[in-house]
Amino acid sequence: MPNSRIKLLSLLIAASALLVGQSSANLPVKEHVLSNGMKVLFVQRNDQPTIAAGWIARVGSANERPGITGLAHLFEHMMFKGSKTIGTKDIKRDLQLNDLQDQLRNEIRREDSMLRAKQLRGEIADMTDPKNRSERHQKLMVEFEKLVKEQQDLLVKDEFSKVYTQAGGTGLNAFTNSDVTCYVQTVPSNKLELWAWMESDRLYNPVFREFYKERDVVFEERRLRTESTPTGKFGELFESIVWEAHPYHWPVVGWGSDLASITREQALEFFNTYYAPNNLTAVLVGDVNESEVVPMLEKYFGRIPRNPKGVPEVVTLEPKQIAEKRMVAEAETTPSVEIAWKSVALGHKDMYALDLLASVLNGRSGRLYKNIVLEKKLATNLRAGGESRKYGGVFTVQGTVSGEHKPEEVEQAIYQEIEKIKSAGISEQELQKVKNQIQADSFRRLDNNYFLMVQLAVADAITGYKEFIEAPSKYEKVTVADIQRVANDYFSKENRNVAIYNRKASAKPVDPELAAFPDQIRSMIASQMNRLSKITDLAQLKTIVGQMEAQAAQVPAEMKGAIDYLRKKIETQIQELSKKENK
């Protein structure tokens, strides 16, 4: 099930940023290229009767353009909709219905164009609100639903998943990020041929049915992860601020308006361009047998024709950043700060030193926690990360603000830590510590066939899997001088992007006493409080209290509680002010 896709994505970015493996002697990866150019990697481990199986396409949101953002991910959903054999009782009618739906959609798109024009002229607020549809538009929608219904009656509903589920396949899933799309699961080891049958079938004979319903599902995914969470929408905005020219500028899930407009025809074109075998790698880890695997995969996947043209290259390079960029957000969250310096692509020679630098900053014994959380007590939590992707990367530090401190104070404290490294470097002991951790983690990661499979697939799609194998020795070679050099090379003011999150005023935890008042009185109190809070003159405040007491008898009964409440607040304010003055 394409679930938890984007969550997994961030995990993968972290995992692939630290491309840690064992030496090749300990990680026997076998490589084979099928006759049509599809690459196969496998690692034989026979202690459990399961195989972690997956394949990856070298395509992600970076291969999109404005207007079709979100297509790589939406497309990933479509890959679960079956084939000419899987998923329908009547393929002939099924395909006709797809065609008829497309025609009707063309008509609906004309209506959408008119709505878009109205929205641009300010005549309607939201072109996707069904209340804005014309009569013709609504009629088309009803007709479209009829076609959908007819097609659904012919479906063998979600047969693709059903075949695997019944066979004991688990964790059937897929994920898309900016650079890759990966389809994964674990199968009992006697079902490898079933995997080969099913996966090659969906690549060889795909049918993208139920397209428009799935587009709605993806929109709900966007609401779930981005729009209805406290910081999701701001995170999306910040990414688009960081990346100016490169396609990393748009979110993997796509802009809302694009997502609502993508067509089935565009999805088909996308498939034909990017899902040819010469753009794919399959990875198997677990109870496999070399002599069995290669002929089996050649037999099933080998039938898919290669795309001799290859895929269009992403040529846009992010320009060198020339000025600091800042975002200040008012959000329903604890105040925090995020700093993102532009760094390097995955596999860049400086990536290894930057990753180790992040580790030196991290951890409970790391510099950020020791100095900013424990000593200065400005933050409760801090984290640095080298996030390198195929075409570029950022080095980030995030901090959650403690108590009444300001995000800007944490920001300055972070810069101070960075400056110390720029001028004085780090100690040998610090470097050795993070190298020890990298070595131990490289063992831990191999404990799990599924994660090893995913890491191999992602690494192969981005840099070639050998980079993954060689990474530990590259980390081992990093010196304290390298770390000081990269700190100086990348952490400049003009190269950074800063996101400040303040707690949204209305989202401040409500005083329960205040919440007890009726709406109207509450808003009256709020505006008075606002006015009062600006008064810093003790005498003036005392006068106000005096006036309130004098007029107490004339206050209407329903306002009495409010006046008492305000008086209490002013008295607290008076106390605090006099404390300050006494100091």
């Binding site: 395909l95 066979a167 799935e214 709605d216 969470t229 403690s402």
Partner: protein, 507 residues
Amino acid sequence: MLNHFVLSLISASLVAQTTSSVPPKKTGIPNRPEKLSFRSIDFKVPNVREARTQLANGSSCYLVPDPTGQPIININITLKGGGYLDPRGKEGLAQIMGGLLRTGGTTSLTPAQLDERLEFMAAQSNANLGDASGQISMSVLSKDIKDGMALLLEMLTQPRFDQDRFELSKKNIIQAMQRRNDDSTSIERQQLGFLLRSEDYYGNRNATKTSIDSITLEDVKAAHAQLIHPSNMIVSVSGRFDKSEMLNLLNNTIGKLTPTSTAKISSEVPEGAYIGKPGIFIVDKDVNQGRVTINLPGVAALSEDYPSVLVMNTILGGGGFTSRLVKKIRSDEGLAYSAGSTFTGSVYVNREGDFRALFQTKTRTVAYGTKLALAEIQKMRTALVSVDELNVAKGSIIDGFPAQFANKSTIASAFSSGEFSKRPDAWLETLRDRVNKVTREDILRVAQKYLQLEKASILVVGNAKEMEEGDVKDHPGKLSEVGASFGFNWAVTNLPLRDPMTMKPIK
């Protein structure tokens, strides 16, 4: 482009016709996956009796060696204790104490020294106490096992409870508290607690600003002195080690721990009666997607009905894409990204958890989606499931079994959690056979017994006004009228948010 598209459609239908009327070409690839045949695999559930042992001091212990695995050893000690033992007014005490076992230093090491030691040896170590149980763990390179074990023992038995780290821990809890109403997911979790269990149920005794402020270091030390008893611990070890050497090491460290005069065998986790009332309960939160849960009392894992309920729920909403709720709400209607149902487990296998169906959808389709979900649940009670559905559900449980034991650390944790939850050894070992015997009639019977829809408590979190209005254009119907459409006389109640610092309802 359009021409190309139409062309590809035509050729696609031609191909389809050829494949359906002409036998497949000589690729040796059968035209349907059912035609493949598979060798059988012999999978035995990992043997718990082989792993089980007892330390010299009486603590239970499970050893799961992995002779060919990576040179890593993972030690985990399950702690019987947690928030349910917090004295009244001191809610949050166990949470603070548990965390400090890792962060608060030991008598011989300051917190900073301990952090440095652990991180330099690349150990991963955690400690926490939740509502009903806790754990302290240590993962080290095999070569460092002696040091790792000594540090673990010291953290567990001689914590320093450093003042600064204690204050920091309180500050972090208060900060997390301030976020309680930020996210609709967290609002849903809190409100479900109060909807289904009484206010004094341990799971609902949330920490408040007042309770955290009142906790002193003396409270923390007393709670710790009470917890450290061999009978409150279940030890499990997995990774690359020799079994007898490991047993020896354990007996010379953790196994030497004897109860002090202040130590107490923890009482059982208290039971909490299900108190959910029928009706629709709405929490207003201004987000553009509503979160819906449909709740009922569940089933105990030890119940004879459990295997039938497991299969039934797999068909209804537990089986991912092949389950009915996902098919209907996600796939057919495009209303939600995630949808499904679950029978939650309880702390002990002889206690009932809850039934919960859930999904999230844009505010205007909350009412319509809820109706569809209720209809699917209702259908489970009125008609037999198909033979096909039964087979897919059974296959997924039985053949998917090995994947649950994919590595040694999962096996070790299955063993210790089995003991904690009082699960008999045979339970796991016989589950596949018991599932295999479930019939369609069994499923109908348990659906009628457990899915008593008229009693459902439905919690909805989202923009109340828009959810109530519904999808006027495409699927008219107000949220408050959903019950009536099933003939249920459900009250509609607006639940206030709770003040994040006091957890008292905001009027």
